[in-house]
């Protein structure tokens, strides 16, 4: 008997139309937990480093977290894993919503897609019945529209749908997979789904999920519920409103956007507008949001209301959360009315809300500077907002210049040439980043940007305050009830951290302290990604209800295998190292571990070298960022070491040029 998980995966070969229900190895659950952990193990075992994103041999895995479908509050994430068309590295974006628990109730832990369907299809899973169905009538339909049409044609209003829009169908490198109020957006997962010819995966489940020690498990859930209520009543003082509570940053219910609009960059991540937020704008934007927002909404089994239903004038209703509220507005130097309107189209097309606006702003910057000309944009409207709609439409259809831009700023710049590369200035490992440009190097963030393999800062940061509090008194108050720390030393690091003087950035926290801090932050995200827990109740906010001290209890009472802080930490390190190993075999080396050149104005090459050296050593990686034999053997990853030796990865410092053409033209293996 398996607890918390079902013990079965659905293996679907799209080339042959074959569907199998396959039992998974219970030992793997103990070693790699579930979600990202077991996804990574499957990718290592079955997808060789030579396999490119758009090869039929690439897998697209929809993995539920180990505790999805149990009563654990907020545990609803699907971890989608594949090889990214952007950089041919492991992509693992997550989505909340309702899909993962539904799949568990249908009796499966993962859906593993391989091959390619000759025609556009959708997959319909209802408990034991699984079908591959024709989706030709859904070609070109929006992702949300598709979900609605499928539920109607199946007469299954309670089915949960993960679908792609036109961007995914046309293999746009920043295409997302949309699921109601959530999406898996980073790394071009939607493009791989489109390449495989799958428009949607539709699930309805009516089976039981068991826990090993039920009374204990529900007791733990009740503690979490109480703590959430305590935190609702006790926001953290001294940090901005969107970060003082739990959940994703509360941008649907918070109308004060002074911090984002004045600290993040506008346009192609270029311009900071320090006095932007006036009373008039506050009033206008609040009334825009209130006028379009019908309700604050949640994911499965979670009381946090991070999302909202938005009805822009004369457009269909859609759902959004978090920072996509502002990305289009700020990329276009426009207002919230425009941002919420174009986000509707973008959600139906299914594009990443971080990358898409930046790609469009990048194109218009190239036009303004004469690298692209009016001839490249035939028929584009004159007005600023109209241009963004025009560009979005051309990108998702891959028409004209849109076909070039659909590969993201990195590849588009290479293809355009003529100095365009300088304009693709905000990428890490070829992936567009949040539009942030700051002054003084922050050593903690340097390490996270350089080594974070999710390529999204919000999915590695958290728990530790982003900046020191001004006075020691405030810091003392903060650490008083900070029981989530894995070790008391973290309190001291924070107490001694000053905004100015000897104990301030970039030299404090010291490299050794930074290693501890970054490792803790990353560890909690990796645990969430294996359990299926939303980062908004765990790794992201300050003082969350889930932490390293109660997680082992949840796992052992839920899944029934022995777990303590040490073994959980080791498990997380094991699959985190496996993620690194997969990317190592795909060529990632020290030269790739770096933030955008202009992320900070004040850089410190010697300190940065020391930070990276110290962190690599701390992680058990060599000076190239490759996990060492000793580290691999300690984690029971001997098979990785053997493969490394066979492939000679330790003698490859990455000087040979990696692929220089976009995957679009790449060969299929």
């Amino acid at each position: 008997m398996r607890y918390a998980e079902t013990g079965y995966n659905l293996e679907i070969d799209l080339s042959r139309g074959n569907i199998e229900r396959v039992a998974s190895n219970p030992e793997d659950s103990q070693l790699y937990l579930g979600g990202l952990g077991t996804n990574a193990k499957i990718m290592w075992d079955r997808v060789a480093p030579e396999v490119e994103a758009f090869s039929p041999n690439n897998l697209l895995i929809f993995g539920t977290g180990l505790l999805c479908g149990t009563p654990a509050i907020g545990c609803n994430r699907t971890i989608v894993t594949t090889i990214s068309p952007v950089n041919q590295l492991l992509a693992f974006s997550m989505m909340g919503g309702f899909w993962a628990p539904e799949l568990k109730y249908a009796g499966y832990d993962k859906v593993i897609l391989r091959g390619k369907s000759p025609d556009l299809v959708y997959i319909w899973i209802k408990d034991d019945k699984v079908e591959i169905r024709d989706a030709s009538h859904l070609r070109g339909k929006g992702a949300i529209e598709t979900a609605k049409l499928i539920c109607e044609e199946l007469k299954e209003p309670k089915a949960q749908v993960a679908a792609i829009g036109m961007a995914g169908e046309n293999r746009v490198y920043f295409a997302s997979i949309e699921q109601g109020r959530s999406s898996a957006s980073r790394g071009g997962l939607g493009a791989v789904m489109g390449d495989k010819g799958v428009k949607a995966i539709v699930v309805r489940g009516t089976k039981d999920i068991h826990t090993a020690r039920p009374a204990e498990f529900v007791g733990l859930c009740n503690e979490v519920l109480q703590y959430i209520q305590f935190r609702e009543k006790n926001p953290i003082p001294g940090v901005m409103a969107i970060l003082s509570g739990l959940g994703s940053p509360q941008e649907m219910k918070t109308h004060d956007e002074k911090w984002h609009t004045e600290n993040f960059m506008w346009g192609n991540s270029r311009e900071r507008r320090k006095d932007f937020w006036t009373d008039q704008i506050a009033e206008d934007w609040t009334s825009t949001m209130k006028g379009m927002q019908t309700r604050l909404i949640s994911c499965y089994n979670c009381p946090m209301k991070c999302g909202a239903t938005i009805s822009p004038p004369d457009k269909p209703t859609y759902m959004m959360k978090c920072f996509s509220k502002l990305t289009y507005t700020m990329a276009a130097f426009s207002d919230l009315q425009f941002g919420l309107g174009i986000a509707q189209a973008a959600t139906e097309y299914g594009v990443d809300g971080f990358s898409a606006p930046q790609v469009m702003a990048f194109a218009l910057e190239l036009l303004a500077d004469g690298i692209l000309t009016d001839d490249d944009f035939p028929g584009m409207p004159e007005d600023n907002e109209g241009r963004f709609y025009w560009l979005l439409d051309h990108i998702v259809r891959r028409e004209g210049i849109g076909d070039v831009l659909a590969n993201g700023t990195y590849w588009a710049a290479k293809q355009i040439g003529n100095g365009a590369e300088k304009y693709a200035h905000n990428t890490i490992k070829k992936t567009e980043q949040l539009p942030l440009k700051l002054s003084m190097l922050n050593p903690i963030y340097f390490l996270m940007y350089a080594t974070g393999e999710k390529l999204n800062i919000t999915q590695i940061e958290g728990q530790f305050p982003q900046a020191p509090f001004p006075t020691r008194e405030e810091r003392e108050t903060f650490v008083k009830d900070w029981f989530q720390v894995p070790d008391e030393k973290f309190k001291q690091y924070f107490l001694d951290w000053e905004p100015r003087g000897d104990n301030s950035i970039p030299f404090y926290p010291t490299p050794a302290m930074c290693c501890d801090i970054v490792d803790w932050q990353e560890r909690m995200h990796y645990i969430d990604d294996a359990l299926g827990m939303c980062a908004g109740l765990s790794s992201f906010p300050l003082k969350p209800p889930y932490h390293i001290h109660n997680y082992p209890k949840f796992i052992s009472a839920g899944a029934g295998f022995a777990m303590d802080e040490e073994s959980l930490t080791k498990a997380a390190k094991r699959y985190r190292t496996l993620v690194r190993a997969i990317n190592t075999t795909r060529g990632v080396r020290r030269k790739d571990d770096k933030p955008p050149e202009n992320h900070w104005k004040k850089r410190f090459p010697d300190l940065e070298k020391e930070l990276l050296d110290t962190y690599y050593a701390f992680k058990g990686w060599n000076e190239q960022g490759i996990p060492t034999e000793e580290a691999l053997r300690n984690l029971g990853l001997d098979y990785v070491y053997e493969e490394f030796e066979k492939r000679g990865v330790y003698s490859d410092n990455g000087d040979a040029p990696s692929e220089t053409t976009p995957a679009e033209t790449g060969k299929e293996v």
Binding site: P71, P214, T294, N301, T309
Partner: protein
């Protein structure tokens, strides 16, 4: 007529506050699992959230008395411009729909307000306060049990005759199976 005090438990459902998370469904099914909390499955829940996010429809509905047959006619409500499907507000397990039935056996389910708990678990887990328990005391008329029995028997005798009723009682007394 004599009266007595009766405790009436009501769940006040503020659909405007519902965030659509379905925690109520999950914990209901877990509470009613055997052994308690050993499994969960929202399809077994005695509360179902009628949920259409794009139409802004969020209605938690509780399972009530089972209906043996479908309604002869049905109604569709339109409230504040939102159209609610047939059966939207109905609490009855019935042949016309899947809700409020055990998914494997098809047996009807009924909300029991989580007997023995301080408050129904759906209320406890709904910290957005869409579900709130209200308890009030009511004076109700007490009908004597003997009086009820006499009325019942008299009507049976009128319909079937005294002998048939006496035979039936005698037969039922002999069979332990049909006596509770």
């Amino acid at each position: 007529m004599a009266t007595e005090k009766k405790i009436v438990k009501t769940i006040k459902i503020n659909a405007d506050l519902c965030n659509g998370c379905r925690a109520c469904e999950m914990i209901c099914s877990a509470f009613h699992a055997e052994p308690k909390y050993s499994s969960n499955n929202p399809a077994r829940s005695r509360v179902q959230v009628l949920r259409h996010p794009l139409e802004d429809i969020y209605i938690p509905v509780y399972a009530g008395e089972s209906a043996g047959a479908e309604c002869a006619g049905r109604g569709v409500y339109v409230i504040d411009g939102k159209e609610y499907e047939e059966c939207a507000f109905c609490r009855s397990p019935c042949p016309s729909r899947e809700d409020f039935k055990e998914p494997d056996s098809g047996l009807p389910l009924k909300c029991d307000m989580c007997e023995g708990e301080e408050e129904p678990l759906c209320v406890k887990w709904c910290i957005t306060d869409a579900l709130v328990l209200e308890v009030r005391e009511e004076e109700v008329e007490v009908v004597e049990e003997q009086e009820m029995l006499d009325i019942g028997l008299a009507s049976l005798i009128e319909k079937h005759g005294k002998q048939k009723v006496m035979d039936a009682v005698a037969r039922m007394s002999a069979s332990t199976k049909s006596l509770k």
